[in-house]
Symmetry: C2
Subunit: 631 residues, 2 copies
């Protein structure tokens, strides 16, 4: 049970049964699964224009052909993923597809790329959402990092509460964003037709910093490819759809691909028509909105707010994806087991915590500027694309079901195309930060593989001997001799209870008292005789001197020596602990149990027993000591 | 034993025997015990001038009569403390004297005043030392807070290492400071005689902000009283002197009082003669040094550096006084017992830690400016003075030894004088921060008394019944029934060892396995039968379902229900713990023992046994599992 204040913050525990998968109609599944993909149009055009402007304002005209090329790529990837849905109707992420078809190690590469991607999705979406907000009010520009961090904390908190249930509400921002882009397009085209007569505005003249060459175009293309993030989400979430789930998912994926292409084309076209130049203080989408709707108009505000909301939603998809992937990796023993612990609210709380921490780090390092993060982003996405398509090629080849040639060809095309784009991104973006991902992926793979190897070793060391016969254990199995060593800090009730407990099971009991400076050994012996008795057979009191200031060291030495002298005995160290029942007592009572446990851990195998004695709280002064008694 | 890196930082543990008290000749005891008192002349004149300047430059002439009044006060206090030495030859601090003669509660008032004083001594000395440094190089002015904090960390670290042994080295800075003030005086007087013809410089004209009235004079007097801090140190440390210790201490105290008075008078006189005006960027002592020795001269540098060193030494006295007083209070059960724990280096490490933390807080709050802290400082000092003198009056009255009338009269005079000064300080400084101490002392007293009362309650609750007969415990005392409940996370060697241990002493054993989502209960039962056996009598396996995600809750509920159903049995909860022997494993192995211990702590009295299983580290792969076996 969590501490009360925690449960107030996160809500009451949810029963496991409420985790059953909810099925959604296509119209609800679409917005929930595609917020990441659709929201990327809010920064993809901007990312491409941001590179092209280096070639001067003239180069901006290249944005349209680049957009068309990316739309062609989207078509190929969407068609490839429709096949993934057919192959993995239970939902196949890139990790699962790569692991099952290309082997565990290639699977780890996909996993590493995805882990990096999810954190970048969260960071880029929140930073872009903050920019949508500061485009509305420039006075917020100085606070972009704190605002992005605040949004991060909110999304993290909502996920720790297990906010997945609110799925239906999540549909609204996505549709609002789609509707606003539609409105923007219709109004923009009408405006251009009636007032401009279809001749594009001349953009503010900007001098070229670099020649317009193939390299510049490829870099702009690579940046624009950030529009393709999130396409795989529908293929990963097939089980969310109504039956027949694969059919519905394929339909929805197609609709999503068309929507994404149309929105991306519309924004790039209008950016070109209105002669928009990228500006660090106001986003490209906001600039278009200002020119079409007017700077202070209600529609402009709605456009920006819906952009913010869909971007927050997109960040939220990382919060369902990352912890789930981390839990799968933990299940495969490639990450610490803690990552698969389900919290009281049925969420992978440790995964959420790690994601919040890494995302916060990225936001702080990037200082709220998406440029570098977007560069890295596309790299991971295309690594995952390539590997999952390649896995499907391998799968069709192995299974050779009906029509396997066509399917294999489609996925081969997808895999080759995305691999080529991946190489383009690596080469063209290497200086701009791609090198970090090129280093990070192998490092992550190495770490995941190290953990997997170590878990395998540990499990084989801990597994019971498969050839051994059953232990045939029976209680009160006469042992070769049971010896208990009781730590006595002072001759008080908790210590006496511990001695009583030790006597209840051991054949011989040694009570050990380390004499502190200023204590009288003789007096302590007398107290022992007075309260325990002087003729106690196999129960003896040993008084130890402490040459150094530590009381634990002489005790540990004594225990070690006893164990070495009688290896045939089972030795149990018994420690009395006064458990505070009162906030004040927590500070007043010395909690040495943890220290002693740690100190003894450094030596041989040993049983450590804690006998609790509950100290009555202040409210029930006197007379309430009976609750501490053992019998 | 501490962690290796710790012992490298702090040095190897010292044996208790090295704590024997070292005796010092007077010439060494003087500098060690009076660095606090003598160093206060570095800021006392400045503090008084800082108030007087509010009355305009004309008011600065009042500094000489105020200095003479304070020197009179020093004489009275020194004579009073000479009597304290006679009465408490083993060293009587204000706390002990007040506690023994005026009762425990008045003792707590003295203790509270002293605790506040020690922290202010450390803070004021370090800040004044930093100012001595930045007077040398004004570019350090911006870094006063970090420099003071750095000095604090150094002094704290030196004390955690137990630097008391280096006592002899400590004599140098004090004598260097005394010699430099002497040189300054001689050179200054010569300079004034030959070049000025004994007419004081007219100070830079400053307009009066306040009228020169009694109140202003009293406030300046109160600030100047900060020169009197540290006088009690020699009386507290009588046991440091060679025999006859009380006689030597009395002599040394007299010498110290004369030195202090002479230095204070010299600095105030020269400040007046040279027309020095207080300046936040450079100390008064540094201004005098610049005029006498010349700004860039070697002597000026030596003056400033020796000022810095004696002030750091003065801060160091707080580091021996505060932890010792805290340990005495813990001994009297007025502070948590942790305060009297001696570390491996034979120092009260917790007291040092608390002092570092509070001092750092004061330095940060004051932003390196001593003004406010000096105001508060004198308040605590005079409270302690008054109470200890009053305690002595009471003592002489009770004992009525030889010449008691004279002694009582002397201490009565001291006590009345210091009480009057105390009232003057409270009234004149109330607005300038004295109110915080007026609030803090009663709060601290209340806290100390609360802790004392609670310890008394706890001890009476935990003490064995004085009228009861001895327990007459004997090992293997047949108990009414011993039941063990073993937590099984999975059927692996650590769990089997725990079951084996439970069977070695309990009459009945229940192994409890909480079935996780995705695990097959039937298969687990089969594994149990395979490895443990199917016909095990009083040893049974119980499989629990987990409706919520927590695995601990169903287990705790089961334990509670078992205990309630069989209150006659002694129940032991046995938990297997895989102990990592490898750094990597620390992250990989789930350490649930602490959580389970905490979860079970909230209920009834219960014994919690941890059976360790040591996981072999990576270097000894395979075959090394035998070390984990219990037999």
């Amino acid at each position: 049970m969590p501490v009360p204040s925690f449960s107030r913050l996160l809500g009451r525990p949810l029963p496991r049964s409420s985790a059953r998968d909810e099925r959604l109609p296509n119209l609800q599944a679409l917005p929930i699964l595609s917020s990441d993909a659709l929201s990327s149009v809010a920064y993809a055009t901007e990312a491409a224009l941001g590179i092209l402007i280096l070639g001067g304002s003239a180069a901006l005209t290249l944005s349209l052909p680049i957009t068309l090329a990316i739309i062609g790529l989207i078509a190929i990837v969407v068609l490839s993923y429709r096949q993934a849905i057919a192959a993995y109707p239970e939902g196949g992420g890139s990790y699962v597809v790569a692991r099952d078809n290309l082997g565990r190690n290639v699977g780890l590469v996909a996993a590493a790329a995805l882990l990096i991607d999810y954190t970048l999705t969260a960071a880029v979406s929140l930073m872009a959402g903050t920019q949508a907000l500061s485009s509305l009010d420039p006075s917020l520009l100085a606070f972009e990092v704190p605002i992005a961090l605040l949004l991060l904390v909110l999304v993290g908190w909502a996920n720790l509460r297990g906010l997945r249930e609110a799925g239906r509400v999540f549909a609204l921002p996505t549709y609002a964003f789609v509707v606003m882009i539609l409105l923007l397009t219709v109004a923009g085209l009408r405006d251009l037709t009636f007032h401009h007569g279809w001749s594009p505005d001349a953009p503010t003249f900007t001098a070229a910093l670099q020649p317009i060459g193939l390299f510049l175009i490829l870099r702009a293309f690579s940046s624009g490819c950030s529009a393709m993030t999130g396409i795989e989400a529908i293929a990963n979430g097939v089980q969310v759809f109504h039956e027949p789930a694969p059919l519905n998912a394929r339909k929805t994926l197609l609709v999503m691909g068309i929507l994404l292409s149309a929105m991306f084309l519309a924004i790039s076209t209008m950016g070109f028509m209105y002669g928009v130049v990228p500006n660090p203080d106001i986003t490209v989408l906001a600039q278009i909105g200002q020119r079409v709707f007017g700077g202070g108009s209600v529609l402009y505000w709605i456009l920006q707010i819906s952009t913010l909301l869909i971007l927050v939603l997109a960040a939220n998809t990382a919060f369902s994806g990352f912890p789930r992937l981390a839990a799968m990796l933990a299940e495969d023993h490639c990450l610490p087991m803690q990552m698969k612990l389900l919290g009281d609210r049925l969420v992978y709380q440790n995964g959420i915590g790690v994601l919040v921490a890494i995302t916060a780090l990225i936001i702080v390092i990037c200082r709220g500027d998406t440029t570098v993060a977007v560069n890295l982003y596309a790299l991971g996405v295309f690594t995952a694309f390539t590997l999952s398509q390649l896995g499907l090629v391998r799968r069709w080849w192995k299974l050779r079901g009906e029509g396997w040639q066509g399917r294999m060809a489609m996925n081969a095309l997808g895999s080759i195309t995305t691999f080529v784009v991946l190489m383009v991104i690596v080469v063209s973006k290497f200086d701009e930060g791609a090198w970090t991902v090129v280093i990070a992926i192998p490092l992550l793979v190495w770490g995941l593989a190290l953990i997997r190897r170590r878990y395998r070793e540990v499990f084989s060391a801990l597994a019971p001997d498969p050839d051994g016969s059953p232990l045939k254990l029976v209680p009160r199995d006469p042992p070769s001799g049971h010896h208990a060593i009781v730590w006595i800090a002072s001759i008080m009730k908790p210590s006496l209870e511990a001695v009583r407990y030790a006597c209840s099971f051991a054949d011989s009991v040694t009570a050990v008292l380390v004499v502190q400076k200023g204590e009288d050994a003789g007096q302590l012996s007398q107290m022992w005789d007075r309260y325990v008795g002087s003729d106690t057979g196999e129960l003896e009191l040993v008084l130890l001197d402490s040459p150094f200031s530590s009381l634990l060291d002489p005790f540990c030495d004594f225990v070690m020596e006893q164990e070495q002298r009688h290896p045939e005995r089972i030795t149990t160290v018994v420690m009395p602990v006064a458990i505070p029942r009162d906030r004040l007592d927590v500070a007043l009572l010395n909690q040495r149990a943890g220290n002693l446990f740690e100190a003894l851990s450094t030596d041989q195998s040993r049983v450590f027993s804690i006998v609790r004695y509950f100290v009555p709280p202040r409210s029930t002064q006197g007379g309430a000591t009976s609750s501490g008694s053992m019998e």
